[in-house]
Amino acid sequence: MTKYLGIVVAGMLFGVGLAVSEMTHASKVLGFLDVAGNWDPSLMFVLGGAVGVAIVAFRFILKRSAPLLEDRFNLPTVKSIDAPLLVGAGIFGVGWGISGYCPGPGVALLAAPDWETWVFIPALLLGAWLQKASTASDDDGVAMLPQPESDQA
């Protein structure tokens, strides 16, 4: 159960970070993606700050043989730059550009009385389910095979 300490503390901090950075404001995000309009470069600072901290911290953390509260590191194993990566990232960008939300801010927005995310998040979950169901049906019609967790980025 101690593992939940890490999960809850990290989750809360992540939520605060999203709120502070205003990633939960769709207009702010679209103001960054709208390079032809009144361009707002703020989001580059969000990404820069996050990657800047993580790139240094990860370097030290990944030298350890195991994390502090669980048995082993659970890291992505896929390395290939293939069609699913390119097509999937492309489709994600289209959805991001339409809505102004990526998954983290969409979840964090459940904290605000803003109905937009009550449409966005169920649609996101349906989209993820449809993608996995379509992959599973390619493999012999076996629906919903358990996916290894390590295929996440």
């Binding site: 901090l13 048995d71 904290a111 989209g127 993820a128």
Partner: protein, 142 residues
């Protein structure tokens, strides 16, 4: 809202990076929100409790900030709901297919110096910028 806010953006980014680092250090996991959320409907049943705990904590963190400091987001007055549904579907499908989103590929992947994540990040930035241009400047939807 459309004004440049480098300080809060940088501060928020640092907190996000710290959160991702904490999750890796303490739990050995990548803080990719599309993976953590999508896994609720596609992953192993036994993983559901920790996924829910993380996502609930994320909502609580944001709620605490809004409760203490305000700046709570409000829905856009004229943005069509069906576009949010289409956007959500594409975000869910695309991140599941490519194995990550802005946090998984964009923050954690870049921090791990993953070429795969760098490519994914460039691709979703390009299609995001192109799509925003079309939605805003061709169709005039804000």
């Amino acid at each position: 809202m459309d004004t440049f806010t480098p300080i809060s953006a940088l501060a928020g980014g640092v907190l996000i990076g710290a959160a991702a680092s904490l999750l890796l250090w303490l739990n050995g996991r990548i803080a990719g929100i599309s993976g953590i959320a999508g896994g609720l409907v596609t992953g192993r049943r036994g993983d559901i409790p920790w996924r829910l705990a993380f996502l609930a904590a994320l909502v609580v963190g944001a709620a605490l900030y809004y409760g203490l400091f305000g700046n709570t987001p409000v829905a856009r007055p004229h943005f069509p709901g069906w576009l949010l549904a289409v956007g959500g579907l594409l975000v869910g499908f695309g991140t599941s297919l490519s194995g990550g989103c802005t946090s998984g590929h964009g923050v954690c992947g870049l921090a791990r110096l993953s070429a795969r994540s760098l490519v994914a990040t460039l691709v979703f930035l390009v299609t995001g910028i192109a799509t925003t241009f079309i939605v805003r400047h061709v169709f005039g939807v804000y």
